[in-house]
């Protein structure tokens, strides 16, 4: 009877597609919004992700996230290096500067200062130029999206000049970085150079990053650093989640996206549920005939569940496919959405939502089918 159920389902192709696309658009809405939400939240920790070689991050005791920074003294790096169990530790600057083109056009930029010698924290994907050129006077790298933002429509080009804090900077390289939360261009310089591009403060060091020797866990190293220096020391994972949680708790982003995701669920459930329910209602006469012909309730349940499962599976696949296409196309066309993709957790969660929608629709339909008296077939 499964075959009959399948034929009943796709017999009217318009209704079949209507039901399937009801699920698909619900899935698209949920997947897309949830993925953008996860992507945005994830971006808050992207400055940390680009420094993957560091498993230990040392900051001021009151630091709450990776963006709002209370500088610590430059000498801190030596104290951290002196903590037993640390293999290495270097300075890392992260701040905001104003980059001005010679013609006066400017943009706020994220300025990264990486260790002068080891280049820990330097970009890994170099599109133009050589990382070693960062050691040249006034040299900076800029990320591709930043270059396109400062010089829109113009080809990537080395040798361009910008001015930060009334100091000349020469672009010697163009790189890819993980998209930052604020959508600002990312400018990378050596630490000593970067501190020249900002207004002078008594303390300028944003982070000390490092890693413990083999046999000492990052957690243990952090514990020792805290005990020995009084600084806040976090493992990479701890700092990532501290930053994400800060944005979750202190911005309206979760609420706004949450509302859209719930709306997606309601729309998906309403469209798919109602269409599938109507499909069952329209076929009630046929279900009644099948019941009269000797199809028992268990087999009828199997038929309705099979129909629901097909609609759910096809609708889910189409919806996720549309979401993938959206991110593929928009990631290329809209720099602000670059790097946002569908995490497997979102895909899995959406599958769970589809199961819930289809179960709801099936239960509504099954109720009518099971309560149907087969004698209804004689009543026209």
């Amino acid at each position: 009877m499964n075959w009959v159920a399948w034929k009943m389902l796709n017999g009217d192709i318009a209704k079949y597609l209507g039901t399937v696309f009801g699920v698909a658009f619900g899935v698209l809405l949920i997947t897309q919004q949830a993925s953008i939400f996860v992507g945005l939240m994830s971006r808050t920790a992207n400055p940390l992700r680009d420094v993957r070689e560091a498993s230990v991050w040392v900051t001021d005791r009151h630091q709450q996230n990776a963006d709002e920074i209370e500088p610590i003294s430059d000498g801190a790096v030596h104290r951290i290096r002196g903590v037993e169990g640390m293999d290495w530790a270097v300075r890392l600057y992260k701040g905001v500067a104003r980059a001005r083109r010679p013609d006066g056009i400017f943009r706020q930029v994220i300025l990264l200062g990486v260790d002068d010698h080891s280049f820990v924290g330097a970009p890994r994907t170099i599109l133009l130029g050589d990382l070693a050129d960062l050691r040249r006077p006034s040299a900076v790298f800029i990320d591709k999206a930043g270059h396109e933002s400062l010089w829109p429509g113009e080809p990537l080009q080395l040798g361009r000049e910008i001015e930060m804090n009334e100091r000349r900077a020469v672009i010697v390289g163009i790189c890819e970085t993980s998209a930052p939360f604020q959508s600002f261009p990312v400018v990378v310089a050596t630490y000593s150079q970067a501190t020249q591009f900002i207004a002078r403060e008594r303390k300028q060091l944003s982070f000390v990053v490092g890693a413990p020797v083999a046999g000492v866990t990052p957690t243990e190293a952090c514990r020792r650093i805290k005990a020995a220096t009084g600084f806040e020391a976090l493992t990479y994972d701890q700092f990532v989640w501290q930053t994400i949680n800060y944005y979750m708790a202190n911005t309206g982003i979760p609420v706004n996206f949450g509302i859209t995701i719930v709306l997606g669920f309601i729309v998906g459930a309403a469209i798919a549920g109602q269409t599938f329910y109507l499909f069952t209602l329209e076929n009630l006469r046929h279900f009644g005939a099948l019941k009269a012909m000797g199809v028992n309730n268990r087999r009828l349940i199997g038929m309705v569940l099979l129909q629901a499962a097909i609609i759910g599976a096809v609708g889910y696949s189409l919806g996720v496919g549309m979401a993938v296409a959206f991110f593929e196309i928009s990631g290329r066309a809209l720099p602000d959405l670059r790097g946002i993709s569908i995490p497997w957790q979102v895909a899995l969660g959406t599958a769970g939502v589809v199961v819930a929608i289809i179960t709801f629709a099936s239960l509504m339909s099954l109720r009518r089918v099971l309560l149907l008296e087969p004698a209804v077939v004689f009543r026209g």
Binding site: V4, K7, G11, G288, M293, G294
Partner: protein, 248 residues
């Protein structure tokens, strides 16, 4: 609690009774309390095999309720129906459904063909219900369709067939699993006279089978000539039991 054991109902024992359907004191009431309505008032009737029995009467007299009870689609409030020696009150749940699947065929006024299945596929449905392999079921269905004169329309969908052809497909579907009771509800109501005559001739030809009982509910006086027996109902009772020729 032990799982319910589902044992198939054995076929009625041989020699088979000449009476296919025996109704005893059938009462049917709908509703409850003040809205309770008695639709059938103690129907007693035997319907034999090898004949076409017509059931007539005005709307609301209880014809549909009676055939629903005879076919096992409704439970009587009181009384019992015995089909080919098997009292229906002894069958419950899936056993009754299985019995119905094997022994009863239905022809509906509105045909009730599945629009997304071809004629052959529609006819094969009762065989699929009986878990026959699909290919063999459709082959067997094609043979029955050929027998009702639709061998050339096996792959036609219902909306590509005339009303008369659709009703013949419905009859083929009702016969494909060789049921012993064929229940037809207004089979000619939606047909022109020529198509109606063709359909009734077909039903008459299957009714001559000595092991089969055919009951036709009708309002259509044009079909009375095809009946071997005529039962007329009024107000939930059988008020006339005669041969159609005397009624014409």
């Amino acid at each position: 609690m032990p799982a319910a054991v589902h044992t198939p109902v054995p076929d009625p024992p041989a020699p088979r009774p000449a009476v296919g359907v025996a109704c005893r004191a059938i009462v049917k009431e709908f509703g409850s309390g003040e809205t309770r309505t008695r639709v059938l008032h103690g129907i007693d009737v035997d319907i034999g095999c090898g004949a076409l029995t017509l059931l007539i009467g005005p709307s609301g007299c209880g014809k549909t309720t009676l055939i629903s009870i005879i076919a096992g689609l409704l439970d009587p409030t009181a009384g019992d129906v015995t089909l080919f020696g098997t009292p229906q009150s002894q069958l419950r749940g899936n056993r009754r459904v299985d019995f119905r699947a094997r022994n009863v065929g239905f022809v509906f006024q509105q045909y009730n063909l599945l629009p997304s299945l071809t004629a052959a596929e529609n006819v094969a449905v009762p065989l699929l219900v009986a878990r026959r392999p699909r290919k063999r079921a459709i082959e067997q269905a094609a043979g029955v369709l050929d027998a009702v004169g639709l061998g050339s329309r096996l792959k036609a969908f219902p909306n590509q067939l005339s009303g008369g052809q659709q009703q013949r497909v419905a009859i083929a579907r009702a016969l494909v699993h060789e049921p012993r009771l064929l229940v037809c509800d207004e089979p000619t109501a939606a047909l022109d006279s020529q198509s109606g005559q063709t359909v009734m001739e077909l039903l008459k030809s299957v009714a001559v089978h000595p092991d089969r009982t055919v009951i036709v509910v009708t309002h259509d006086s044009r079909v009375l000539q095809f009946g071997d027996r005529l039962l007329e109902m009024a107000d939930g009772r059988i008020v006339l039991d005669t041969v159609p020729s005397s009624h014409l």
